[in-house]
């Protein structure tokens, strides 16, 4: 089954020797039958202004088949709107990623970026977390972004296409009733875990709201593949999760 990975990274993770390069990304994609990957730069999570990290990311993947960008935008930086508009001129940019806790602002601010992303016809990914809060570096204070607040933004900006990235299953279940009523909100499944996690997520919000993602190279990519493979869901649901929905949301052909 050909997959679309909606959340992967290039660059170096600063706290352990983990690095995503174009070469090892290509190997990972081949090994896991991933036709398209939506990429952000690790460095963009940590730079006050992610612009140089985004530029480097785009230069690395320029012209690479199946490699698409979700540049990171820091809403604390005055020209964030101009950055979004500039990035939209690049055909490989298919979304933007916000990481409110990494950049130190309330997730509610993402509403304005959601409106701008909708105007630019790009999806907006909002990062809830990346690493387990129990063993973050002592120099970090990164409480997870509120999933419920992101759901409220999706409700308030119906033209925007929002993807909640790296939520855990209980966070999805806690917001499920509202999520089911929205047509512009999806969850990446990289941080779902637990016995029958994918079936539970499907039961709660429907397979069409769930997107395959690895959070590679921070996570082992195979873990995401096997979570979907083991799920006791229908074949159409598996196709929706693995690729069909993502192809539509991010206009991937």
């Amino acid at each position: 089954m050909t997959r679309v990975d909606v959340s992967a990274f290039l660059g170096r993770w600063p706290f352990r020797p983990i690095e995503g390069t174009v070469a090892n990304l290509a190997r990972m994609m081949r090994a896991n039958d991933i036709a398209h990957a939506l990429l952000s730069a690790f460095e963009g999570l940590f730079y006050a202004d992610p612009e140089p990290a985004n530029e480097e990311l785009l230069s690395k993947i320029a012209g690479r088949k199946g490699m698409w960008a979700a540049p990171i935008i820091n809403l604390r930086v005055a020209d964030w709107g101009e950055q979004m508009a500039h990035l939209a001129r690049n055909r490989q940019v298919r979304a933007y990623r916000l990481a409110s806790t990494f950049h130190g602002y309330e997730v509610g601010l993402c509403a304005e970026a959601a409106r701008e992303a909708a105007r630019l016809r790009r999806a907006l990914m909002v990062q809830v977390r990346l690493e387990d809060e129990r063993h973050l570096s002592p120099i970090l204070s990164l409480p997870p972004a509120s999933v419920k607040a992101i759901v409220e933004i999706a409700a308030a900006v119906p033209r925007a296409k929002l993807v909640i990235s790296a939520a855990r299953l209980p966070e999805l279940l806690g917001a499920a009733e509202k999520v089911k009523r929205l047509r512009n909100l999806w969850f990446d499944m990289s941080h779902f875990d637990g016995l029958e996690c994918m079936r539970q997520a499907c039961d709660a919000v429907g397979a069409k709201r769930l997107l395959f993602s690895t959070s590679w190279p921070f996570f082992y990519a195979r873990s995401a593949v096997l979570k979907v493979e083991e799920a006791e869901v229908t074949a159409p649901a598996r196709r929706d999760i693995s690729a069909s929905s993502a192809r539509r949301i991010f206009a991937l052909r």
Binding site: R16, D132, R134, H135, G194, E196, R222, V225, L226, K227
Partner: protein, 256 residues
């Protein structure tokens, strides 16, 4: 063949609920070719459960062993704060009931001397102790072991086979804590599938001391198995992690 050294029957309180929950685990295990599931029930999931709750949890595991004699190996959960009861449970569940190991959670730390009678009995019986541990930045439970606590336990009991749970929770620091003790292993259960951790465990401990475990139902078979299948390992290292090491640790139950 794959052996899961670390699994729980479910979140239910009654055997009927646990049977239903565990059925889903069996299906997932079957899907991935997991032959044996080492099952422990942490009483009522309180930090220091009373003997009646401990016994009830172990009774559920004994029942599931009887339901699935070719799939389930019980691990006897005990609370070392109730020493006499802990030793009696080991007699009832391991010696007479055929369980293959002993489980310790967060009732007291591995460095606590109250663990000693349990550790000595495990050595005498030739069964492993599965000991929870985590380096939890927020402090964790009062009696929760860090890897350093488990290392202290291993140092006091060099003839006891110990499996420290939760590789990702231990992290680089935890692996270095336990590296000097050859009787101490790590399972890869729990935590998210953070890349590079399995390779690091193999580098610091050797593949002979790394054991596959899931912590299901808290974690999924897919996510955990992906850690081993994606790690840069030789075939022999992968086989040791998935079943070779567990088979050696469970030799009282599985034979040589």
């Amino acid at each position: 063949m794959i052996i899961d050294i670390h699994a729980h029957p479910g979140y239910g309180r009654e055997l009927g609920e646990l049977r239903k929950e565990f059925a889903a685990a069996l299906r997932a295990a079957e899907h991935h070719g997991v032959r044996w599931i080492c099952l422990n029930a942490i009483a009522d999931w309180t930090q220091s459960p009373r003997p009646a709750a401990v016994r009830k949890g172990n009774d559920a595991v004994l029942a599931l062993m009887a339901d699935h004699p070719d799939r389930v190996i019980g691990f006897c959960y005990v609370n070392p704060r109730y020493s006499a009861h802990a030793l009696a449970e080991i007699e009832r569940c391991v010696v007479k009931g055929g369980m293959g190991g002993i489980k310790l959670w967060v009732a007291c730390k591995g460095s606590d001397r109250r663990v000693d009678p349990v550790a000595r009995r495990a050595a005498g019986l030739g069964v492993p102790i599965l000991q929870h541990a985590w380096y939890n930045r927020s402090g964790g439970f009062k009696g929760e072991s860090t890897p350093a606590d488990v290392a202290a336990m291993a140092a006091r009991h060099p003839k006891t086979m110990i499996v420290m749970a939760h590789l990702t929770g231990a992290g680089e620091r935890g692996l270095k804590d336990i590296a000097p003790y050859p009787n101490l292993h790590v399972d890869i259960s729990g935590g998210e599938p953070e890349a590079g951790m399995v390779e690091l465990a193999v580098k610091l401990l050797g593949a002979e001391r790394v054991v596959f475990g899931t912590d299901t139902p808290i974690r999924s078979y897919g996510a955990t198995l992906g850690k081993v299948l994606d790690a840069k390992l030789t075939r022999r290292q992968r086989e040791l992690i998935l079943f070779g090491n567990a088979k050696r640790l469970l030799r009282r139950r599985l034979g040589r």
